[in-house]
Symmetry: C2
Subunit: 173 residues, 2 copies
């Protein structure tokens, strides 16, 4: 995985600097959490769940993909997501396309720019019992995982999405 910069906003894993606003209380945040330590193999061949875009100071563009278990659960509306579900958010800079704009004759076009990071949610109700069955992973473009402070920010935010089993991204038809 060759990805260069180190931006951190996510749409599935909202483990992001701006989300440190969710400074969890001890009641919310177990002292020791298990995170996803390895990049799930084959994720780039998974099917599309949806797309996402975060602005403010982030300028982040995402494709959200799911493994077969995730796609089946999304399409069937299965909640909670079954063990084995993995959701991946591939993040890029939300970049102006000067090339397209020149052809279009308008300032209108944005494309996936520099890859920044990939975030994962892995469902394993035993392994990640302390975070409602979800393991969170963040890997910078150089393949290195996010630091402890970043990773601690995932669950407190995601747990606010209670009606959809902690998953923000909806399926795009």
């Amino acid at each position: 995985m060759k990805r260069i910069t180190n931006l951190t906003i996510g749409t599935i894993g909202v483990c992001a600097a701006t989300l440190m606003i969710f400074s969890a209380s001890r009641a919310d945040q177990p002292a020791s959490l298990a995170f996803v330590k390895e990049i799930p193999p084959g994720y780039r061949d998974w099917r599309l769940i949806s797309v996402a875009h975060e602005e403010d100071d982030l300028h982040s563009f995402a494709a959200v993909l799911g493994n077969d278990t995730a796609i089946a659960a999304y399409r069937a509306g299965t909640l909670p997501y079954p063990d084995g579900t993995i959701i991946a958010a591939l993040h890029y800079r939300h970049a102006v396309s000067d090339e397209n704009n020149k052809i279009f004759g308008k300032e209108q076009s944005f494309v996936a720019g520099t890859p920044t990071n990939i975030q994962f949610m892995v469902k394993d109700s035993k392994k990640y019992a302390a975070t409602r069955g979800w393991g969170f992973g963040h890997f910078n473009n150089d393949g290195k995982p996010g630091d402890e402070k970043l990773m601690q920010s995932c669950f407190p935010c995601h747990q606010r999405e209670k009606d959809r089993d902690l998953v923000f991204t909806k399926y795009a038809p």
Copy 2:
């Protein structure tokens, strides 16, 4: 395919209202063109090429997918794209997510809104010889194809992307 509205901007098929600015000369635009008449089956299961976003008055959000031939060609850097390549751009409204913003505490989040249309580029060097081997397709959310005027706008714009065999979208790693 249940898709409701009738917006038209594309990233692969830039067969869009705003692109009528490319009112082609007779030299550019053959009098009778063959278009893609049927929606290619299984496109929603294809793999990701990239994401795209068109603003100005469009507010369009896209996931660009490719069939196996397309993905193989993209990854190998094969140009021109071989016969059998199909590229699909699934378009949605670029929608504010009030739900996410409420959780994030900031006005920052955009998601795939109402589905609008799907556009296809199909490579068949014989069938679509008049348009450099590409057949263009546009299907509104109700499954109906784009009208003649819209379809006539595809090739004159795409042919300006000569260095990448008329394809705008680049592969996102």
